[in-house]
C-alpha cells in the first residue's frame, strides 16, 4: 500500500506549523534579546511517527516537540559562588571606605598631627614653665585632641549603626527573594509535572538565585518536583519546596548585629560565609576592632598623662590634679543574687602611688566566691581580677562596713570602690561586678575642667621648683617616645599608624578581592551568555532557514494541489 497525496499534504501542513513555531521562537528570542536572565529558547524538531508502507517506513512529517531553554546549570552554580564573593567584598569594601575616611591620615588633617601638636604644646610649656599663654594653648590643644578622638569614635559608632541598618534592609530583601523563589517553585512544579517546560519561570528563578547568592552564600539543588531547595551554608533551609524561611536581625548588648534563622532562632552570624551579609558582618568586626583600638589608645593616653600630671605641681602649687577626665563604666551583673551596687570615686590625695594597681586603666571584675557575711567578712569572699591581663589584684585596704551596708575597697592614691547593698541582701557567691576604665575612654575623654584655670596645669615636678621647674612638662612631652602601647612594644604614634595601616590594607584587600570576583563574574556571565544569550545574526540566519523551509512546504502543497486537480480532472 502506498500513502496517498493527502499524506504529502498533511506532512507539508505539519512542516508549515513547525516552521511557524520556530519563527515564533525566533521572534520571542529577538524580542527578549536584552531581557536580563532570559535564556535563548530553541525548538526541538522531530519527525512524526512513520507509517509502514510497501517500500518501507514512510515519514509522515515533522513536529516541534519541545522548547528547550539554553541555560548551563553548572555555570549558574559557579556564578552564584562568585556573585556571593562580589557581594561580600563589595559590602565590606564600602564599609571600609567609610572607616578609611575616619582614619584618613593621608590628607593634611588627621589625628596624628593633632597628637603631635599636643606633645609639642607640652614641650612649649617645658620651654616656658612660667607661662600662662603656653598653658592656655596646651589646654586648647588637649581639647582639640579629645574632641578629635571623641568625634572619631562617634563616626565609628555611626558607621556601626549604618552597618546594622544595611544588614536589616539586606535581610528584608533576602527574605522577600526566598519568598518569591518559593512561589516560583510552586508554579514551576505545577507546570512541569504536566510536562510543560516552564522556561520563563525558571529564568526568573535563576535570576533570583543569582541575586540572592550576592547577599548570602547559599547552596541549592532541584528536587524531583522541579522545586529548588535553597540552603544556607550550615544547612538551614531558606526555601524548601513552596515554603520559605526568614532570617531575622537583632542586636546584642554591645549593639552588635545578630542574624538568626527565625524558624528556631539559630544564630547565623558565624555560618554566613559569603555574600554581602558576610561582608557587612566582617565590616562590623572591622569597625569594632577600630573602636577597641581607639579605646586602648585613649585609655593609655589618659592613664599616662594623668599619672605624670597628678604628680606635678601647677603654678599655684596645686598638685594631684588630673589632666584628662573620662567616664568609668560600672556594671552589676543582672543575675546577681544580692542587690549590691558598685560605686567608684576618685580619692582625695591622688598622688601616683596607686597607679600601678587599679588605675592602669584596664578592665576589672570583682567576683564573689562565697556568700558575703556582712559584719564578719574577712575579705577573702571575693577576688578582684584584671580581666585584661587575667591577673588577680589586691585592694590596698578592705573595710567590712556592715553598719552602712557597704563593702569599701581602697586603692592607694587611686580610687575608692564600694559595693552598697540592702540590709540582709549582701552579695552572694557567684555575684559579679565589673568596672571598665577603657570602655568609654574614647567617647568621653575631655580635659579636666579644673584646668580652665591655667595656673593648675602642672609643669613643675617639684613644689620647690616653682615657677621655673619644667620637669613634669618635659616628662609628659617625652611620653611620645615611650613604649606605652601594645604591652610596651610601641609608642602612641606607632600604635596609631599601625591601626591606620591595618585599615588601609584591609580596604585594599577588600577592593582587590572585589575586583577579582567581579572579573570572575564577568567571565562566567560571558560564558553563560554564550550559551543562553540571543545572537541576532544567528536568529536571522535561522529565520531565513525556516522561512525557506516554510516557502518550500507551501510550494509542496501547491504541487500536491495541482496533482489533486489532475486527479479530479481525470474523473
Amino acid at each position: 500500500m502506498s500513502l496517498g497525496l493527502s499524506n504529502a499534504l498533511n506532512s507539508s501542513r505539519l512542516s508549515l506549523f513547525s516552521q511557524q513555531d520556530n519563527i515564533n521562537l525566533i521572534g520571542n528570542n529577538v524580542a527578549n534579546v536584552n531581557t536580563p536572565g532570559y535564556s535563548r529558547q530553541v525548538g526541538v524538531i522531530e519527525t512524526t511517527d512513520p507509517l509502514a508502507t510497501r517500500p518501507g517506513m514512510m515519514g509522515t512529517g515533522v513536529v516541534t516537540s519541545r522548547i528547550l531553554s539554553m541555560y548551563d546549570r553548572f555555570i549558574g552554580m559557579q556564578l552564584s559562588l562568585e556573585q556571593s564573593n562580589v557581594g561580600q567584598w563589595s559590602a565590606r569594601g564600602t564599609a571600609l571606605l567609610d572607616l578609611e575616611r575616619t582614619f584618613n591620615e593621608a590628607g593634611d588633617y588627621g589625628l596624628q598631627p593633632v597628637m603631635g601638636e599636643f606633645w609639642n604644646s607640652w614641650e612649649d610649656l617645658a620651654n616656658n614653665p612660667e607661662g600662662i599663654a603656653q598653658r592656655v594653648s596646651l589646654v586648647q590643644s588637649g581639647q582639640v585632641l579629645t574632641a578629635n578622638i571623641n568625634s572619631m569614635y562617634d563616626d565609628l559608632t555611626t558607621q556601626k549603626r549604618l552597618i546594622g541598618q544595611r544588614v536589616e534592609s539586606l535581610v528584608d530583601r533576602a527574605n522577600e527573594m526566598t519568598g518569591q523563589i518559593a512561589e516560583l517553585n510552586q508554579r514551576i512544579s505545577e507546570n512541569e509535572l504536566k510536562e510543560y517546560d516552564a522556561n520563563d519561570l525558571r529564568d526568573r528563578r535563576n535570576l533570583l538565585l543569582e541575586e540572592l547568592s550576592e547577599y548570602v552564600d547559599i547552596n541549592y539543588f532541584e528536587n524531583e518536583l522541579y522545586q529548588m531547595t535553597v540552603l544556607s551554608s550550615n544547612g538551614k533551609s531558606l526555601v524548601q519546596g513552596n515554603m520559605s524561611y526568614d532570617l531575622s536581625v537583632d542586636y546584642d548588648d554591645d549593639l552588635n548585629v545578630a542574624v538568626s534563622w527565625s524558624n528556631d532562632d539559630t544564630p547565623m552570624n558565624d555560618f554566613v560565609n559569603g555574600g554581602s551579609l558576610r561582608g557587612l558582618l566582617d565590616a562590623e568586626l572591622d569597625v569594632n576592632a577600630a573602636m577597641d583600638d581607639m579605646s586602648e589608645l585613649s585609655a593609655a593616653l589618659i592613664f599616662n598623662v594623668n599619672r605624670l600630671h597628678s604628680q606635678g605641681y601647677g603654678l599655684d602649687g596645686t598638685t594631684e590634679e588630673l589632666f584628662f577626665e573620662h567616664d568609668i563604666v560600672l556594671e552589676t551583673a543582672a543575675l546577681n543574687e544580692g542587690d549590691g551596687v558598685l560605686e567608684i570615686d576618685v580619692m582625695e590625695g591622688l598622688n601616683g602611688i596607686g597607679w600601678d594597681t587599679l588605675a592602669n586603666y584596664d578592665d576589672f571584675e570583682i567576683r564573689f566566691t562565697a556568700d558575703y557575711p556582712a559584719g564578719t567578712a574577712t575579705g577573702n569572699e571575693f577576688v578582684i581580677v584584671n580581666t585584661s591581663s587575667g591577673d588577680a589584684i589586691t585592694a590596698d585596704s578592705f573595710t567590712d562596713d556592715a553598719v552602712n551596708n557597704r563593702i569599701l575597697l581602697e586603692f592607694n592614691g587611686g580610687y575608692h570602690v564600694q559595693i552598697r547593698y540592702g540590709s540582709g541582701t549582701a552579695p552572694r557567691s557567684g555575684d559579679l561586678f565589673s568596672l571598665s576604665f577603657r570602655e568609654n575612654a574614647a567617647p568621653t575623654m575631655a580635659v579636666n575642667e579644673a584646668l580652665e584655670d591655667p595656673a593648675k596645669v602642672a609643669a613643675a615636678g617639684d613644689l620647690l621648683g616653682l615657677p621655673g621647674d619644667n620637669g613634669t612638662a618635659l616628662t609628659i612631652g617625652q611620653l611620645q617616645h615611650q613604649l606605652t602601647m601594645s604591652n610596651k612594644a610601641s609608642t602612641f604614634g606607632e600604635f596609631y599608624s599601625s591601626v591606620v595601616g591595618r585599615i588601609g590594607s584591609l580596604a585594599r584587600t577588600a577592593s582587590s578581592n572585589e575586583d577579582h570576583a567581579a572579573l570572575m563574574v564577568e567571565e562566567l556571565n560571558l560564558k553563560q551568555e554564550s550559551v543562553s544569550g540571543v545572537s541576532i545574526d544567528e536568529e536571522m540566519t535561522n529565520l531565513i532557514r525556516f522561512q525557506q523551509a516554510y516557502s518550500a512546504s507551501a510550494r509542496i502543497i501547491t504541487a500536491v494541489d495541482e496533482l489533486m486537480q489532475i486527479v479530479t480532472q481525470m474523473v
Binding site: 593621608a106 596624628q112 609639642n120 614641650e123 612660667e130 613644689l463 544569550g533 540571543v534
Partner: protein
Amino acid sequence: MRTTNNQMFLSVQSRIARVEEQRAKYLAQIASGNRVSTPSDDPVGITKVMSFAAEDVRITQYGRNMTEASTWLTATDQVVTDGVDILMRAKTLLISTENAALSQANRDAIAEEMQGLLDNLLALGNTNNAGSYIFGGHRTRTVPYRLLDGVHGTVLAGDDGRRNIELAPNQLLMINTIGGGSNIDGREIDGLFKQDKTNEADARDLYALFSRAIAELRAGDNGDYRASTAVDTPVSRNLVSGDLSFTITAGDGSGAVEVSISDNPLYAVPEAVVDLSGATVTDEADAGQLAAATNAWAINSKMDFEIDVTGSLAADDRVSAFLRAEVDGTMIRDPGADVTLAAGALQINHVDIGPISLRDVGTTAVPPDPDPDIAAANVREIATRINEQSGETGVWATYTGSGTDYRLVLTSLEADGEEVSVTVDNAATRNYTGLGAGGGTWSGTTLADPSTVADPDTLTAGDLVINGVDIIDPDGTGATLTLADWATADVESLANVQALAAKINAVTDRTGVQASYTRNAANDYKLVLSGSADIEIALDTTPDTASLTGLSAGTQNPTLPPGAWTTVYHPGGRQEDSASPGTWNYDALNAAAPGSEDFTVYDANNGAVTLAAETGFVVTEGVSGALAETLGLGINDGADTWAAVSVSSGRQEEIQRYLDHFGAVEATVGARMNYVDRTTATYEDRSINLKAFVSDIKEVDITQAIMNYNSVDQAYQATLAASARIFSTSILDYLS
C-alpha cells in the same frame, strides 16, 4: 564558542569601563598631585608617611626648643662676656691703686668707677630673658640678686634648679647656668657670681668683693684692708635624724624673734596647707614631711623661708633654711563693705603699695555670716600687694591667724633690722590693713643669771633696785607691781615674769641692764639680766622680794664662769668659748648637753643669738652652732675681723679667681651653643630629607603619571574604535 550580541556588548562595556577607571585614576593623580590619597592606596607607605610626618612635626618643635635654648645661652654668653670686661677693668683699676702716691680724690674717683661697675654687675646677675631671670635657677620670677649692704654682698633668691630642654628624643640639655664650671663638686646653691661656700674663708660673693673694695678705697685705707666675713646669706648644712623639732611662733610683743616649740604656732598656715605646730623631727620621713610642708607654707605665704629637700630625704640629705627677722604684727579688720584702698593710702618705707581691694567679710548678726575665706583672701591680698613692692621696700609681708582674725606680719629683708616706716593716710586704712603709721625697731636681751621667781605678792617702791634705779617705782609716782598667784596656772607665772622683765626693761637707759626670762618647767621661770658691766642689785630686806623676783642682792658680773652663762652666738654661727673669751670654738657647746636653761634671744644691738630649749630649736649634740647659721639668724657684727689683706694682692687675686670662673662658664656655654647649632643644622637637613621621603611615597611623579595617562588614553581610544567596528556589521545590513 557562540558569540551573542549581549556577550559583545558586555565585554565591550566592561573593557571600556576598565580603561576608563584607569584613565580617571591617572587623571586624579595628575590633578591632585598625590599618588596616595587614602590609606588603602598604599597601606605600608601610609604608615611610613605618618611616622615621617610625625617626626617632621617633632622636628619643628625641636626647632622651637633650639631657639629657646639659643636665646638663653646667648643671653648667658653675653653676660659672661660683659662680666669678663668688667672684671678686667676692675682689676686694672685695683692695680692702679698700688701707687702709694694716689690722692684720696683719685681714690674716690676710682671708687666711683668701681661703684658703676658694681651696678653693671648687679644688672648682669639679674639678666632677664623673656620674663625669666636666667640666674635664678627655678625661681625665675624673683629678682635673684639683691644688694644687702656695702659689706655683705648679695642675697641670692635663686635656687639650683636646672632648666632643661629636649633636643632629641629623651636627650636633655641644661640651658641655664647655676654654679659654674670651676668648682662644682661640693658646691651648694651657687650662681655665676657666687663662689664656693663650702670653704668658710671664701664665703663671699663678687658683689661683696666690689663693695668692700669700694669702701676701702673711700676710707683711704691704703694697702691694708680688713676683710670681714659675710655670713648672713642663706647657708646650708646637712640635718640628720633627731636634729631639730620646732614650730615658729609669734613675736612676744617686744619685737624680738622667737623660735620656740610652744603650742602657739606663729604663723597660721594659709589655705591650710600644713599645720606646723608641734611638728617633731624624729626620723628622715618626718624631716621630709616637715620640709615639704614648710616649703608649701613658705611658698603660699610668699615668705622668704624655705627648707630644701632634694629627692626623698635620707640621713645625709641637704636641708637649708632661710629665715628673716620679723618687725611688726598687727590686726586686720573687716572693711564691712567692699572697699578699695586708693593708691597712696599705704606706704611702706616711702614706697606706695598701690590700690588694695578688700571684700566685705560679713557679720555674725546679719547674714551672710562672716566668711573666713574672704578674710583670708583680704589679708592675702594686702600681703601680696606689699610683697609685690618688696624689691623697693625691703619688706616682706606674711600673716598669722585663722578664721576671720588675722595679723599682718611685716618682715624686714635687712637682717640687721632697719627701721620699717609705715605711712597710712587715714584711720580706715589703718584698720583694714592693721598697720599703724610709724616704725618698728628691734630690741632684745642677752645674758643670764637664772634665779627662781617665787610665789607672788605686791612689790612696792624700793623693793628692787638695780644699778641704783628703783625698778618698781622709778619716777616716784607710787607705782607698784602686783604679781598674780600662779598656784594653778602656768600662764600667770609667765605673766609675772614678763611683767618683771618689762619693768626692768622700761628703765634700761638708766640702769644699762636688760631683762629677759627663760622657762625651766611649769611655774618655774628664770629671770635673765644682761648688761655691759657689773650689775648691782639691791633688794629690800623682806625675804619675799628675793623669792618673788628670783634675784638676790649683790653685784653680778656678766662675765660669769662657764655653766652659769647661756650660750652666746656671734654672727656666722661662731660661738665664743666662755672658758676663753675672744676665741671661737664650734664645739664648746656641742660637748655639753644642752641644758634647759639655754635660751634664745636675738639682739640687734650686739648681734647675738642664743638658742634655748623652749624658745629655739631643740638642739642636740653636734648641730647647735651650725643651726643658727642654717637659719640665717646670725649677722655680722663686725667683730670677727680677719687677717688684713691688701688691695693689690687679695682683691686682685679674688678678681682673678672670678675671671677664671667666668672663663670656665664661658667655655661651657660656648660648648652648649655649638651643640645647639650643630643639632639645629642636623635637624634642618633631616627635615628636608623627611619632606622628600614623604613626597616620594605620597606624591605622584607627574611625568610618569602623564605618560601613564597617555598610554591609557590611547588604549581607551583604541577600545572605542574596535568596539565601533564590532558593532558596525550585522547580518541585518545584508538582508533586504
